[in-house]
């Protein structure tokens, strides 16, 4: 075939990783290897991808083995984030496996002397109509998949699915509950040393001086590293490294400056910004009506992973191997290289699973720490575990935000004009996102620091700070403006849902306020402005699930509220009803949710993700804020950043709307905004108190009730 045919567009990540053998091996021993560039972060993604491969190949699930991501071998799928794994990796595997099946069937047909129509497959055994059979495992060889995908193989129609759409148990859970060493924190190459870093006390702290000799003399200490403001130790035993790092911290003298703003998101309104109108509609002239406005805020949020970040690195003859729970092994390698001053080819980055991270925590930062400390102990692996206080004080947070709304409610009870303005820093500082510079922490602290990359927003339609800022409701007149404040006072990066949490909180709280003003039930008021039939379906479903009665007032101090959004305005639809009780404190007792994420690959996995996202979102809105004074982040431990406990979690019910004919989109995110709004609206329903500043702490509640 001529080589000069135009490159065709291939589905998902196949587009950028075009060879079938990059994705799959059919092995003579009766197994199938799959090599996702995406990684497991507790979302069950690998199980869902395995289901897709087993389905398209017609083999049993337990034959499919997952090879974890490593640079130089795995397809480069960028970063695992934004719930895009099922779209990107899932469609690549679907088409790759369907094509592999066709190639195998062609070989089987030749061997058995049968046409394709006469063949059927069951668990890798191909049977011809006459009864003769041959297995994949006999048919395979190295040349089978050594070719570019055509993208022409036809995946199965959903009606024929036997594995996709069933509740396949997750592959990783048995090993995890048995306590096997599955996490990067557990990875222990022989002869491994332990490293710790002594961070400055604050972002702006300058190192005046530090005495290293006494630390060097401590038991077990192998190396003490100082490079600019980067201070670290390497020791034989973990507790020795911890003790030496603490001593090093005491030996270091710093000078600090009050560079941080007051702990109130409204500082954003006064800082330099870039302004952009992102949606404008001018319909019929606004009819007469009443004007309303609102202002909504939230503080910086932490990822607060249960496990502080960790990495292991080894330095041999100028080359590095790094074991990391980074969500993007190739982008990380691209930023480690300039920080370590070696070409990227001299670094191998291997993914090992970490704890749930919900966005970009310090996984990438600690990888550089480990490499820098490994350089001081050549030939031996060095494991660096951030301490709890390192993670809370230095992880990249999710930006504080302010949203202002204004609307005209016409006399017929409809919204005729809608304005929304968002102020926020960027929501992504992931490796590889900026053209220039880096955000790897240690790279900014070195004697010769690299340039700091700006925090940026992924572009619309997904967006970052402006994610879900454009309402999904139909209003004849509308203007939405994004005010991006480029220079964040604290480190910021992506956290589950990015800006959508605050934007949806604002939109959905304001919708409720307008419904009250119009004297219409909030669900009816929403449906009045909602055209999209899938949107209407989830709102109606959740109302049925919760047995919602228009204008119902529950007994006692109970109240109910709704929140709804289509995540990113292009992914999953989620509608939430929360039931709260206002007693000593505000408690969320029950949450109902209806979700439509297109085709459901693994219903139980989806429900698990929804439950988790909802419970975490309740924690965000009730509790969470990163505390800081004018010099330092003051959060050091769980006491300073409490999250929901077992005694406080609500009962969660999830209802699925499966649409097998539509593409599957992720469900790991999108709960954050609807949950926050549903809780705020339920509080209002229970008490008449409207809180517009998150989190809904006791102090805020008391102040609002007194007012």
């Amino acid at each position: 075939m001529a080589e000069n045919t135009a490159r065709r567009k291939l589905p998902g990540s196949l587009e950028t990783n075009r060879k079938l053998s990059q994705w799959l091996d059919i092995n003579a021993d009766g197994t199938v290897n799959m090599r996702p560039g995406k990684i497991e972060i507790g979302q069950g993604i690998l199980t869902a991808l395995r289901q897709i491969v087993a389905e398209e190949l017609d083999v049993n699930l337990n034959r499919v083995k997952v090879v974890t991501a490593v640079t130089a071998m795995s397809p480069n799928e960028g970063v695992t984030s934004g719930s895009r794994s099922i779209e990107e990796s899932g469609s690549a595997f679907r088409y790759a496996a369907a094509e592999a099946r066709e190639l195998l069937l062609a070989r089987a047909g030749a061997k058995l002397g049968a046409t394709l129509e006469q063949l059927s497959v069951s668990d890798g055994v191909v049977c011809a109509r006459g009864g003769a059979s041959v297995t994949y495992w006999e048919l395979t060889d190295a040349s089978l998949l050594d070719r570019e995908a055509t993208g022409e193989a036809r995946p199965k129609p959903p009606a024929q699915h036997k594995i996709v759409g069933t509740a396949a148990p997750r592959v990783d859970i048995p090993r995890k509950v048995a306590g096997l060493p599955v996490y990067v924190q557990d990875h222990e190459p022989s002869g491994m040393l332990h490293g710790r870093v002594s961070r400055p006390p604050s972002y702006s702290a300058e190192l005046i001086g530090v005495k290293l000799d006494d630390v060097r003399a401590m038991p077990g200490v192998v190396a003490v590293v100082r490079d600019g403001r980067f201070l670290g130790v390497v020791a034989e035993r973990e507790e020795q490294a911890i003790r030496a790092a603490r001593r090093l911290a005491r030996e270091a003298k710093w000078s600090e400056k009050p560079t941080l703003p007051e702990m109130n998101p409204r500082y954003l309104l006064d800082w330099p910004e870039k302004t952009e109108v992102i949606s404008e509609k001018k319909g019929a002239a606004a009819s007469a009506g009443r004007e309303f406005s609102g202002e909504y805020t939230r503080q910086f949020l932490a990822h607060a992973s249960i496990a502080p970040s960790c990495a292991t690195a080894q330095y041999d003859d100028g080359k590095y191997t790094v074991w990391t729970h980074s969500q993007g092994i190739y982008p990380l390698r691209g930023e480690l290289a300039p920080a370590l001053q070696v070409p990227p080819e001299d670094i191998v980055v291997r993914h090992v699973e970490g704890a749930g991270c919900y966005g970009q925590n310090a996984a990438d930062d600690v990888a550089l720490d480990a490499a820098l400390l490994a350089r001081a102990a050549p030939g031996r692996a060095v494991r660096v575990q951030w301490m709890r206080e390192d993670e809370f004080a230095w992880e990249p947070y999710s930006s504080a935000m302010v949203v202002k709304t204004r609307a005209t409610l016409s006399d017929d009870g409809r919204i005729s004009a809608w304005h929304l303005d968002v102020w926020s820093h960027g929501h992504s500082s992931r490796p590889g996102r900026a053209d220039d510079g880096t955000n790897l922490l240690a790279a900014l602290h070195l004697e010769k620091p690299l340039k700091r990359a700006p925090a940026a927003n992924p572009p619309l339609p997904g967006g970052g700070s402006h994610r879900n800022a454009i309402p999904i409701y139909e209003f004849p007149n509308q203007r939405v403006t994004n005010h991006l404040v480029p220079d964040p006072p604290l480190r910021v990066s992506s956290l589950r849902g990015l800006g959508s949490q605050t934007n949806v909180f604002a939109i959905e709280s304001f919708m409720d306020e307008l419904a009250v003003a119009a004297d219409v039930d909030p669900i009816e008021f929403r449906l009045r402005h909602l055209v999209d039939s899938r949107a209407r379906a989830v709102v109606e479903k959740v109302a049925t699930m919760a047995n919602w009665k228009p204008k119902q007032q529950l007994a006692g101090n109970l109240g109910r509220g709704i929140g709804f959004a289509r995540y990113k305005n292009l992914a999953g639809y989620m509608a939430i009803i929360a039931e709260v009780e206002l007693a000593e404190t505000l408690r969320v007792l029950r949450v109902w949710s209806a979700v439509d994420v297109g085709q459901t690959i693994n219903p139980d996995g989806l429900i698990n993700q929804m439950e988790g996202g909802i419970i975490q979102a309740v924690s965000f809105v009730l509790r969470e804020e990163v505390k800081y004074d004018r010099e330092r982040v003051t959060v050091r431990g769980w006491d300073d950043y409490p999250i929901l406990s077992f005694a406080e979690v609500p009962q969660v019910v999830v209802g699925l709307i499966n649409r097998p004919e539509l593409p599957a989109v992720g469900a790991g995110e999108g709960q954050q905004g609807p949950v926050a709004a549903a809780v705020g609206n339920a509080l209002f329903n229970a008490s008449g108190v409207r809180l517009r500043d998150m989190p809904f702490t006791r102090e805020r509640l008391l102040a609002a009730m007194a007012a």
Binding site: I41, G42, Q43, G44, P169, R170, D172, I173, P174, R175, K176, V177, A178, G179, L180, P181, V182, Y183, Q185, D186, E188, P219, R237, E238, E239, A304, S305, I306, A307, P308, G354, A355, G356, Y358, Q385, M387, R388, D604, G605, N608, Q609, E611, G612, G613, I614, I615, Q616, S619, G637, W638, D639, I643, L644, S645, F646, A647, V649, Q651, V652
Partner: protein, 153 residues
């Protein structure tokens, strides 16, 4: 210093004030005992000592000399799981799973002492454990399922 972990004697060359957590992970090889905070606030490092659930980051190794320590590795294996481990798989009660081994140890201490715990007993037993992924509901279901199984034994 001599300690007993999952019925095995172990001689360790650590400083007496070393937190038990690091000895269990690095000397005894029990990686299922996980580091989460090091300050007694999250429960990922939970083990059972003399029948009680204890946060191993909060105990110096010198305090457990001569006592019998049980970790998650000591209650069951991949091939022969403890009823609690089996129940967590059956309920698919994990997201990232990092908190789970500590929670299983809290639950085991509870169920060993109280075969029929109330919801409040359960909440009390889990008051030292955090889960950031929001898996709480399934975790509680798994423990209740295990309680039923264990009553049959």
């Amino acid at each position: 210093m001599d300690i007993t972990v999952n019925g095995r004697f172990l001689s360790v060359a650590a400083d007496p004030e070393t937190p038990l957590l690091y000895v269990l992970r690095n000397d005894a090889g029990c990686k299922g005992v996980r580091f989460g905070c090091g300050t007694g606030h999250c429960g990922t490092c939970m083990v059972i000592i003399d029948g009680k659930a204890v946060q191993s980051c909060d105990v110096p190794v010198s305090a457990v000399a001569g006592k019998s320590i049980q970790t998650v590795e000591g209650i069951g294996t991949l091939e022969q799981p403890h009823p609690l481990q089996r129940a967590f798989v059956e309920e698919q009660a994990a997201q990232c799973g990092y908190c789970i081994t500590g929670i299983i140890m809290s639950a085991k201490a509870l169920l060993d002492a109280n075969k029929n715990p109330s919801d409040d007993d359960l909440k009390e037993a889990l008051s030292k454990n955090l889960c950031r992924c929001g898996t709480h509901q399934r975790i509680v279901r798994a423990i209740k399922r295990a309680a039923v199984e264990m009553r049959k034994l």
